[in-house]
Amino acid sequence: MLSFNLLLAVSIGYASFLFLVAFATERRALRGQANWLRSPTVYTLSLSIYCTGWTFFGAVGYAARSGLEYLTIYLGPTIVMIGWWSLLRKLVRIGKTQRITSIADLLSSRYGKSAFIGGLVTVLVVVGTTPYIALQLQSVTLSFQVFAPASDDGISTGFWVAAGLALFTVIFGTRNLDVDERHHGVVIAIAVEAVVKLIALLAVGIFVVWGVAGGPAEALRIIDASPIAAWNMAPDRWVTLTFLAGAAFICLPRMFHVLVVENTDERHLGVASWAFPVYLLLISLFVVPIAAVGLSAMPGQNPDLFVITVPLQYGREGLAMLSFLGGFSAATSMVVVASIALSTMVSNHLVMPLWLRFAEGGATVSGDVRNVVLVSRRISIAGVLALGYLYYRSSGGGEALAAMGLIAFAGVAQLLPALIGGIFWRGATRVGAGSGIALGFTVWLYTLFLPSFGADALLSAATLRDGPWGIAALRPQALFGVTGLDPLVHAVFWSLTANLAAFFLGSLLSFPNPLERLQGATFVNIYRYSGGVRGWGHSIAEAEDLLVMAQRIIGPGEAQALFVAAAASQGKRGYLPDVTPDFLERLERKLSGSVGAATAHAMIGQITGGVTVSVEDLMRVADETAQMMEQQSALETKSRELERTARQLREANEKLTQLSVQKDAFLSQISHELRTPMTSIRSFSEILRDGAGFSAADRKRYSTIIHDETLRLTRLLDDLLDLSVLENGHGTLNIGPARLRGVLDRALATMERQDGPGALRILRRLGDEDIALMTDSDRLAQVFINILSNAQKYCTAPQPTLRIAVTRYERRVEVDFIDNGAGIPSEHQSLIFEKFARLSDTRAAGGAGLGLAICREIMLRLGGDIAYLPGQGGAAFRVTLPLAGAEAPRATATIS
């Protein structure tokens, strides 16, 4: 037999090892080497605190009493885990974005950061979890007693275990006030313990199946021959227990803590969704064989301890020791995490609200709030463990471990309606959640918790039997006369029915306050609004006060960093940002990671003068959005207009640039045109002046050249003057009645007629030309002369012919001048009306190239037009004239 002292040494050694592991991990995490600590494997293993000492020892006992029913405890969480995509993922996302610190914090935050809901939930889970902790102490004590039956009454063992656990939890669970409530050392320690308990149970199972029974087939035969051979399933208990286990898996404070609060990466859930069911399957795989072998080998012994006593029976002391350590691990890891979760809740939802209310000046008082929080957490941990120990002591250590666990399950399951309703139903309200939880909790207390102490302990035997004051309808285990139900099923049925009804009706009938509505929308649509919705209106808080407060909660360094960053993002320097709703929201979320949503909200509320969001604020935000959208659309219109104007300006600019280029070209052309004749005039006059002995013929020739060039200059200047007058709209038009035929006659008459074979032949149809016009006949004749002389100069045909065709329309007359020459190439047709546009050699033409430009100006002034007419077999010009009375010449209007 193992000595008690050896056992004690081994347990103390193991506990020291866990301390070391946790300590080393914290050190590494501090140095920023925590990445490997946050793997999906560690996450999955940390979930195994679901399997407590109750599971480790109790499952075998449970199987020995009720057969396969123990499996429901594992099947429920399996269903929840493999359904992670729908529920757990959402919970984890909410937990991360809202910086949730516990299940009480989640519910309080969801229902309008209500301190009432947080406090209620905290009380409920403390009441529900204390017996559960007592259960762990009992399981460790019982397993000690197996090795040293006579040496100890269990009470002092229980005390030392509780004290040791309190020490460990205080050291590693409240080491610092984490803003994200993550405890690396604790998580690694429970991961190690998870491995130890799995290996221990598997080792015992393998030993029993292969070492004792002689193989799986033999083990099944032993099961069939044992007292639990028949599967005496109670369908109501089967379904209820599966449901309860699934609900507890989410709602138990410690499970919520490792599932949601300690989660670092949503993707870990995906791995855990199959890996944790594997863990559960392995943990429960050998339970029935161990129970069956234990029942056959050691009838009459406590089946809860078969895991240790069966190896001892077969002389395997080492295995028994391993098994003991497995149970020790299971119990201690559960107690550690549970007390951390509970102490967080107690300090955030009971102590802090009370402190805020009763401390002088509340949140504005100086001093370090962090100490208040930390001390309250440490005291809470000690208090929770002390409660558990006292409970264990007073209950005296009942025989059936499993019963207490299920009662705790049923208690925390009361949170399920408010939790599920809160994250999927926007209509759930604080009143509904509060009344549901309170009513369900009360019914649970009355029908399950109080009766569980036995007759005459807390409820008198008479009350249990006949109901209070003899009212049979209120008998705790047969409410409203429903008898014959299993007490657990009965309690779960009535408590959850009342809970759901109150939750639903309360939500339907009450009206949520604005913050509740805001939080409801945020939680339900967490995937869409992960950025968060503003919860603060415009306030008059002083940034300095807020900084003072934040320093006291999250520490000076972190608080200053937060404020500097916020100021920088607002474009300010220094430590004090503007107190915008955005900033308040961020600050509150940061603080809520330390002290919970309700407390953080209340503290900021005290400083900002309680200016929180109101319906009007919500509406105003919506209005602001609408206004902003309107302004935006107005801006868009304006910018489109500006764009249009800019385009117009750009076009005008281009035109001006072109004009300037044209002007420059015109000036250089002019100077060129003027200089050529001047050059020859100057040289010939110099010859005449300086030279002597010229013949008369020579002198005459030179003088003629000078004269001709002077004439050319004069003509050029005349033309320029003419053009300038016409273009500027100056000068007068002598509008009067005229006949087209007369004008043409005059033009032809002024032409220098050449005779001979090369002379231009004119073809006219005089009958068409008898048209009355209202025009300036001199100017018109000038146009005609220009066209005629062009034909004379440029028509290169051997027998040049010019046809003049007159066509009369209703409102206008078209006069076409068509010769039989080479015509004008199409690429030049657009140029011929430009100034100085000459297609051939200047000197041959004898003009300056202004003729057609002048013609066009004249025709425009006369209200007509002149255009080149392509495709006529030669050069062709069409002069369009308005008919008399049809349209007054445009020029009349502009001539003053």
Binding site: G67, I79, M81, L220, D224, I228, W231, W238, W274, L281
Partner: protein
């Protein structure tokens, strides 16, 4: 002012497949509840050993399915396909 976000009526083959895997992930717990509740119908006539084999068999299959789904779910934070409203009923996809 912009109207409500418009959702495509039909999805590309990849997106369609992803949605169906998500459906499978949502359906799996229902299948688990079914498999774990079915023994209620015949447990009274069955021995513990047979029940043990059935339950662990079903359990194992569910774990395999959960593992396959978790592996197949292209889980990218930020581009969460669940962020979008559910696809319109009867969406046939183009695949």
């Amino acid at each position: 002012m912009r109207g409500p976000r418009s959702e495509p009526l039909f999805l590309a083959r990849d997106t369609y497949r992803r949605r169906r895997i998500m459906d499978a992930a949502r359906f799996l717990p229902v299948a688990a509840m079914f498999l774990f509740t079915v023994p209620v119908l015949w447990a009274r006539t069955t021995g513990t050993a047979a029940g043990l084999l059935y339950l662990f068999g079903a359990w194992f299959l569910l774990i395999l399915a959960a593992g396959a789904i978790a592996r197949a779910l292209p889980y990218l934070p930020g581009t969460d396909p669940d962020d979008a409203p559910a696809p319109p009923p009867g969406d046939g996809g183009t695949g």
